[in-house]
């Protein structure tokens, strides 16, 4: 297919940065879920999902954000989203995710936002 999927986890300024590359659909969402779960299991609950290279997301991917956010916030952490390309941002916005999640333009602004909270 045109857009294979890759996921990359790193850390910066005490944040876990999960970068998504390609498409997140019902086929690849479980890998994304595992990546977030691993961070939470390791006690890292300040999570930034960098979507600069994400070119497609379906509800299976949105569901991953949805299912973890309460748990993470209860622990005093957060999941923030940065770098959404317009097409993908549109999918988040159809369902009103902008009312629930911080969505930042790029990684530096997202890191700043985390630092300020």
């Amino acid at each position: 297919m045109a857009n294979p999927f890759a996921i990359h986890t790193s850390s910066e300024n005490g944040l876990s940065i999960i970068s998504l590359d390609g498409f997140v659909d019902a086929h690849t969402a479980p890998q994304f879920e595992n990546a977030i779960q691993s961070e939470i299991d390791a006690g890292r609950n300040r999570i930034l999902v960098n979507c600069e290279k994400l070119n497609y997301i379906s509800s299976a991917g949105l569901g991953v954000f949805m299912s973890f956010i309460e748990e993470v916030r209860e622990q005093g952490g957060d999941i923030k989203i940065c770098g959404l390309v317009p097409k993908v941002k549109h999918t988040f916005e159809i369902l009103g995710f902008q009312d629930i999640f911080d969505m930042l333009d790029d990684q530096p602004s997202a890191i700043e936002r985390f630092a300020a909270s």
Binding site: M1, A26, A60, I100
Partner: protein, 144 residues
């Protein structure tokens, strides 16, 4: 002069692995139907959601089963149907919960049908459980 109808049909194994191929098919058909990129994106997502539901719920991840996507368009309307011979369900009983409610319940699902209805101009289920279940979706082709 009536415009010619053009018909495209795709049969794929009922596996999430097929979704990327389905999206490419839908994108290409949308382009041939002269939809703009925004409308093609909506079509792609709606059909992905419909097929993912069939793969997961109608067939319970049985890759020996087949998902069928059928697209027909003329110069005014693109009609696209997702067809299975699986379990079926009562679409009137599936109440949509708000995202806030789903978040509170820590759900990872429950967004698909709502997305489909938001993205397409008309949506209609035709269910005969175990025999033939069809989800018909329509998108108007707006001419610039």
């Amino acid at each position: 002069m009536a415009a010619i109808e053009r018909k495209f049909i795709l049969h794929v194994p009922s596996s999430t692995e097929s979704l990327a191929l389905i999206r490419e098919f839908v994108t290409s058909v949308g382009r041939l139907a002269t939809l703009d990129d925004g409308e093609i994106g909506k079509l792609e997502l709606a059909v992905d959601e419909a097929c993912a539901n069939v793969i997961e719920h109608a067939y319970g991840h049985d890759a020996t089963k087949e998902v069928i996507v059928r697209a027909v368009f003329d110069d005014q309307t693109l009609r696209i149907s997702v067809i299975d011979t699986g379990l079926g369900f009562d679409p009137t009983s599936a109440q949509s919960k708000s995202v806030e409610e789903l978040v509170r319940q820590r759900k990872s699902g429950g967004l698909g049908i709502r997305l489909i209805k938001t993205l397409m101009d008309e949506v209609q289920y035709e269910i005969v459980p175990g025999q033939k279940n069809e989800l018909h979706m329509t998108k108007k082709i707006r001419k610039e």
